[in-house]
């Protein structure tokens, strides 16, 4: 009886599977028929499906259904099927891939490149590039030698996807302070932490609660989750004149390395945070609150100051804007410990050849693939993936490209739908230029340029900026050429070898940092040095010196490789 039932169930399952497979086949048959008929100069524009495993989740992926997606499909015959990490991390996804020894055609492995290279999963792109990809070679230009994997292995495994020649037109970081605070105090200078502190203190004394009686908060830090790095520890090096090199500080002359919190200057920065806590200006919940709570505090308009990156508090600020409370949104400044330091957020790196796209050994037609990527890197391709289709997403007025207003509106107010429908933002799969680079028609390749930025400012932003005589927030920062370019790019793009002990030491150092920094900040001022000394001692105990030395070697190697 049971066997009969089991048999029946299996039969049912088989039938369903069969039907599903049939359904699939008929779909495939459909797409073959709609294959492109214009052959162009290519031998075959037969439809081909490429599988791409991306290490970044993209909930707005449109399955080639968007305007751009369909255009690409028709023009090149290529359909892309993307896979994303779900629930787990990208590390899991690529680990399984290596273990099963089965690879899709294309991968965007982010930081997992070493795993794939170790497993022999990626092919050397150099011969393909030299023969079939003139556009890609043109985009990378002199930086082509930065694509090389290592000193020992000069193959090119991934094509970095960061824009080449990127110019930053605005600053998203620094220290944020509400417009209403600046207005009431007559737009004082906000250059040092003391200035920042005084502005907040003065305003808080005069206005301790909001209109509905809610207590205001001076400074709230997003320190309860992983963003502790962005809101609490990274500002320490920005405020003391060092650039972002991950958790390390690199001496630009000797390339000696220490962890950035081992610098005496940064101890003083944390001491200031300790002081802010002592005088009651720091949100006591800074290290306990969840991201949601942090955002809702900001959205309530009670928080006078935050130290964060714009993409981290964007959602909360949008809630304020939606209610029209623009004076409670934020202006940002490059605050430093004292006048002797300059914020090095924009210290040059040259082209940062970091995360990219690679072709695997299992790819069926690498030549066709590289030609496809080359198309995306061509001028026509880049304009397509950045701006869209002429007439549909932008128009050309007097030689100048302008985004159609309805499209721009959707981009600003409903970005998710915008991405899914137009496909803009979903097809950055090849080499491309960054912001600020002009194409052959004198227009920008990308849609981020000065006019756009100012157009997206609110009235409150413009008013504040005008009071200081600036056009964009970045104007507060030191000029781009105030610093020497880092010969090794940026520290955070350099990873230890997977088998190295340094990885374990690094993880331990992070655990220690997350324990001691909050403790130091919340401690009694008299105990601050004791806690911080303990912090330093713990780091020594796990032998960070060894890790630092290894990192220093990696940096030196990179400098050598990139200066060829």
């Amino acid at each position: 009886m049971k066997k009969v039932k089991l048999g029946l169930s299996l039969l049912l399952v088989m039938t369903m599977l069969f039907l599903a497979a049939c359904g699939n086949n008929s779909n495939n048959a459909g797409s073959t028929n709609s294959g492109s008929s214009n052959s162009g100069e290519e031998a075959s524009l037969e439809p081909m499906t490429l599988r791409l495993a991306s290490g970044d989740a993209n909930p707005q992926w449109d399955n080639m259904q968007s305007d751009i997606g369909q255009f690409i499909k028709e023009k090149t015959g290529i359909t892309i099927e993307q896979e994303f990490p779900v629930g787990g991390s990208d590390a899991d996804m690529f680990a399984l891939m290596v273990a099963s020894d089965e690879y899709p055609d294309l991968v965007m492995p982010k930081g997992n490149v070493n795993k794939l290279v170790d497993a022999g999963a990626l092919i050397d792109l150099r011969p393909l590039l030299e023969e079939h990809a003139p556009n890609i070679m043109k985009v990378y230009g002199e930086y082509i030698n930065r694509l090389v994997h290592s000193a020992e292995d000069d193959s090119i495994y991934v094509l970095p996807l960061d824009g080449v020649g990127q110019t930053y037109f605005d600053a998203g970081g620094g220290f944020q302070i509400q417009h209403q605070v600046l207005e009431e105090l007559g737009y004082p200078e906000i250059k040092t932490v003391k200035d920042y502190e005084n502005a907040i203190k003065t305003y808080l004394e005069k206005n301790p609660t909001t209109e509905d009686g809610q207590p205001r908060i001076g400074l709230s830090l997003n320190g309860g989750e992983w963003q502790i790095l962005i809101s609490v520890t990274n500002p320490a090096f920005y405020a003391t004149g060092a650039p972002d090199d991950g958790e390390f500080y690199v001496n630009q002359d000797t390339y000696e390395v220490i962890m950035h919190y081992q610098r005496p200057e940064e101890r003083e920065y944390f001491r200031w945070l300790n002081h802010m806590n002592d005088i009651g200006l720091l949100d006591k919940e800074s290290f306990v609150q969840k991201y949601d709570q942090y955002k809702s505090k900001i959205a309530s308009g009670r928080v006078l100051g935050i130290i964060d990156q714009d993409w981290d508090y964007a959602e909360a600020e949008n809630a304020l804007k939606a209610e029209g409370k623009f004076e409670q949104t934020y202006a940002n400044f490059p605050v430093t410990l004292d006048e002797s330091y300059q914020d090095a957020s924009f210290m040059g790196t040259g082209y940062l050849a970091s995360y990219g796209i690679g072709i695997t050994v299992d790819a069926k037609d690498p030549v066709r693939i590289i030609k496809f990527l080359d198309y995306l890197a061509s001028e026509e391709g880049q304009i397509l993936v950045n701006w869209g289709i002429e007439g549909q997403h932008y128009t050309v007025e007097d030689g100048k490209r302008v985004i159609i207003p309805e499209v721009l509106d959707m981009k600003v107010n409903d970005n998710n739908t915008f991405k899914k429908q137009t496909g803009i933002g979903n097809y950055f799969m090849s080499a491309r230029y960054g912001d600020g680079v002009l194409d052959s028609t004198g227009n920008y390749f990308t849609t981020n340029f000065p006019d756009q930025i100012v157009a997206q400012y609110s009235e409150a932003d413009k008013k504040t900026l005008a009071a200081y005589g600036k056009t964009v927030y970045k104007d507060f920062w030191p000029a781009d050429d105030a610093f020497k370019e880092r010969a090794y790019g940026a520290g955070w793009t350099i990873n230890f070898d997977t088998a190295s002990d340094a990885n374990v030491i690094f993880q331990k150092s992070q655990d220690i940092m997350k324990k001691y920094i909050p403790q130091a900040i919340l401690a009694d001022p008299a105990d601050f040095d004791k806690v911080y000394d303990e912090f330093m001692a713990e780091l020594d105990k796990i032998n960070v010196a060894k890790m630092n030395a290894e990192y220093s070697e990696l940096i030196k190697k990179r400098v050598e490789m990139w200066s060829k």
Partner: protein
Amino acid sequence: MKSQTSNQNSVAKISSTKRFFRTMVQQKYLYFMSLPFVIWIIVFSYVPIWGWLMAFQNYRPRNNILNQDWVGFKHFIELFSDERFYLVLRNTLAMSSMGLIVSFTVPVIFALLLNELRQQFFKRTIQTIAYLPHFVSWVVVSGIVTKMLSTDGGAVNELLMALHIIDQPIQFMAKGEWFWGIVTIADAWKETGWNTIIFLAAMSGIDPELYEASTVDGAGRFRKMWHITLPGIRTTFMVLFILSIGHLISIGFEKQFLLSNPLVNDYAEVLDLYALNYGINLSRYSYGTAIGIFNSVVSIILVFLANFIYKKVTKESVI
């Protein structure tokens, strides 16, 4: 004489083998109903054990498992000499023991009380509502708990201050020593309703005649609970309890991770999170596997030990 004894021996031997096969044929249906599963479990649970070899190597995914760098017990030694390991082990055992005790007392009491409700509709409604939090993810529940315990208008602090028990809000989530308690209570809130289901099912298997008979004997409700209901679910309770002891070490890390923050991490990090951070996330498959083996060995020892004690006391065995 000698030949007679040897004859007797060989006769006895033949008998016992013959007996074995005879019983097997007698019990053939029992075999039909179980052997397929034996095969299934060997394939799906025992065969993958070859993965444990990784713990004794410096496993790199590219090569075949037999083609690796063998390092013996290096990873285990590293594990046992890491201070942090003992810290997370302590946290794990503390929280799981507290959880074990709570999840075997509260749901039983709750089931007993539910059984005392006479209005069926009310009883069924409460049952259904009580198990709802099980379906709400820990992400949501931890958000609610954090907000309720917050000093910035959190419900618990507001209540305590209104009742004048305290005059300053307490930062519950910042105190490491209270973390274990908070996790246990949050878990009880979320899972009690669900855990009650099995006990209710067991209670409904008790012969109603026993209750009727005791009523005639003049037993009150507490007597009934003590002498009929509780003994009636004893088997189920003990089986679940002993099997759960095996899970003391491997309790996952989601709820602890979501409820924790940098201030309480020394009390919140558990073994599974440690394994994730120092094993898979750093591509150290061997180290991660070593921790897995440690977990399994300890779990199995705990369960068999508990069962052994149970057997000694009650002559019954769970396994």
